[in-house]
């Protein structure tokens, strides 16, 4: 686990704000920094509206980030003009949540796959493109007889395979999966997830797997990031996160996962009070403080830093409870934070 791994994507303080009516701003993603290592699956979880999908879309530049940098293989793509994104598009692809709206109903799936190749100038002749499209169809478990079928002739699971084929045909290294299985039946979910895992093995893919279903994320991810109201509140390896959830939000989230045998479990269900605050006017300090059972006045005044706390390396959490441990005393922490602010100014 300790070996040096290649960082393939690195985001620093990525923000995505949307202007809404009355000169207000929705802070959908508010400063997310994370790294994706080559060949891993990074699960991004959080409740509806926490900005995880927006983050995924911003990452592949379907939207431009308001602030922050996105580096793919060391190259900053956060402000690259659309013209220069050709290579990025080849490297990073996306699989969408709803398999029923993500395919153009008027285009045969074979033609759609060939069009992707055409856009990127891959393949010389039509028959070469056709061969590549058929190759990819077989790879995702579709029959080549389906080449000339329209999307509506397929089931949800098959459509998601088509969506995956569309992403894979460019031979990308990174795939952003935006809740790719949440619209599917549970039995189909496992098929598709296993397909994802098989393809990762064979093609050395890196996944950013966005989901709200913790059990799916637990099964597929190497590392997990937990988002709340546009912030990444905790990040750790899957085992570490499940055995030692640090952030109060993560603890509450994990306590809500159903147990196979509830009688044997001694798990305490943590019920969060209140609703998700509006991302137009997020709480001051720590965004979670309005619902946090441990909130203090400090949480109101100061935004917690994201610190690598442990117990294992790479377990990062943004919560004052652990910052104190990190700095020794609250005073030391505030002082350190003050210095940081001074430097920033």
């Amino acid at each position: 686990m300790k070996k040096e791994r290649e960082v393939i994507v690195e985001t620093t303080n990525v923000k995505k704000y949307f202007p809404v009516a009355h000169n207000q701003i929705v802070k959908a993603v508010d400063g997310v920094s994370l790294k994706l290592y080559k060949g891993e699956t990074y699960g991004l979880v959080g409740e509806t509206g926490c900005g995880k999908s927006t983050f995924g879309r911003t990452l592949i530049r379907l939207q431009n980030p308001t602030e922050g940098t996105i580096k793919v293989k060391g190259k900053d793509i956060s402000n690259a003009p659309e013209k220069e994104l050709g290579d990025l598009r080849k490297q990073m692809q996306m699989v969408f949540q709803d398999p029923f709206t993500s395919l153009n109903p008027r285009i045969r799936i074979g033609d759609m796959l060939m069009e992707v190749l055409k856009i990127h100038g891959i393949g010389n002749s039509k028959s070469e493109k056709m061969a590549m499209a058929m190759e990819i169809m077989e790879k995702v478990g579709l029959r080549t007889e389906h080449f000339y079928r329209y999307p509506h002739e397929f089931s949800g699971g098959q459509r998601q395979r088509i969506g995956l084929a569309r992403a894979l045909i460019l031979n990308p290294e990174i795939i952003v999966c935006d809740e790719p299985v949440s619209a599917l039946d549970v039995s189909i979910q496992s098929q598709i997830i296993n397909l994802f895992l098989d393809l990762q093995d064979s093609d050395d893919l890196t996944y950013l797997f966005i989901a709200h279903d913790i059990s799916v994320v637990k099964y597929i991810s190497n590392r997990i990031g937990v988002m709340y109201l546009g912030h990444l509140v905790e990040e750790a390896t899957t085992e570490d996160l499940f055995s030692h959830p640090l952030h109060p939000y993560t603890q509450a989230l994990l306590s809500a996962v159903p147990e196979a045998n509830p009688h044997k479990s001694d798990k305490q269900r943590i019920i969060l009070k209140g609703d998700l605050p509006s991302p137009i006017d997020p709480p001051s300090g720590c965004v979670f403080r309005t619902r946090c059972p441990y909130a203090t006045t400090l949480c109101e005044d100061l935004k917690p830093q994201t610190l690598d706390i442990g117990p294992e390396e790479g377990h990062r959490v943004a919560c004052h409870m652990y910052a104190e441990k990190h700095y020794g005393t609250t005073g030391a922490m505030i002082e350190a934070k003050g210095k940081e602010l001074a430097v920033a100014k």
Binding site: L62, M94, N104, E128, A131, Y148, G163, R166, N171
Partner: protein, 302 residues
Amino acid sequence: MNNMKQRTLTEADLRRMVEIRNRLTKEQRSLQLHKFLRNRQAMVGLVIFLIVLFAAIFGPSLCKESPVALNVLNRLKPPSKEHWFGTDTLGRDVYTRVIYGARISMIVGVSVGAISGILGLIIGIYSSYNKYADEILMRICDGLKAIPSILLAITLMTALGADIKNVIISLTVVNTPTMGRLARSAALVVKEQTYIEAMRGIGAKSRRILWRHIAPNIMSPLLVQMTFVFATSIITEAALSFLGAGVPAPQPSWGSILSEGRTVIFTSQWMIIFPGAITAMTVLGLNLFGDGLRDLLDPLSS
């Protein structure tokens, strides 16, 4: 990275694929055809329309007489064996004139429907895509729509002069804003679909997205609207000709025949009844066809 072994398609493979494609296309077509044939309303509309179209195309060669041949001795004769629809104030055969009039109505209807449909598509697509184009195009459309359409058509006809070409131009100007607005609203809906986002994620250029992915998906409402524009153009053309601002005399148009019959409405009703009934039938047929087409193309509306 690329562990896809290159596979090549043999002649036999390609032949097999073409076979699959043809079989599927045939299946899909016959399915659609069946669905359409089952829609009785649309079929009735289509048949009426086809009869009028047939008359417009081949009618003139079926008529022995000229629509402008005067026969003053035979003026205002009621329907008979020689003159099915009677004769008019100048002794011209009303049947022949109605058939020739159908040609004018069809030319006007088809041209206005097609041209305003195409212009509407272009306007709609670009205004859904570009904010500035949207503002400019939609304000022009608003302006044109603020004027009652028949008034606008008359004004344009007066300015341009009575001629079938000018009838088409002015009716296109009248109908394009509606088409543009329709195409725009449909395009705005399609634009938000995930598959458009997916195409952007793949790196498709705007032009490809607009014309290959958005345009085909807004064609159904546009096609339906085109049949209605076709129908209203026939009516408006008749109205213009009735008012003397349409196709110039002595060219026969349904509107001008009605106009001539107006003066003798109490003595020679056939001059009004036949062209009037045929105009109404044609428009009814087109509307029925359009409704059926809408049911066929958009299963949600039925």
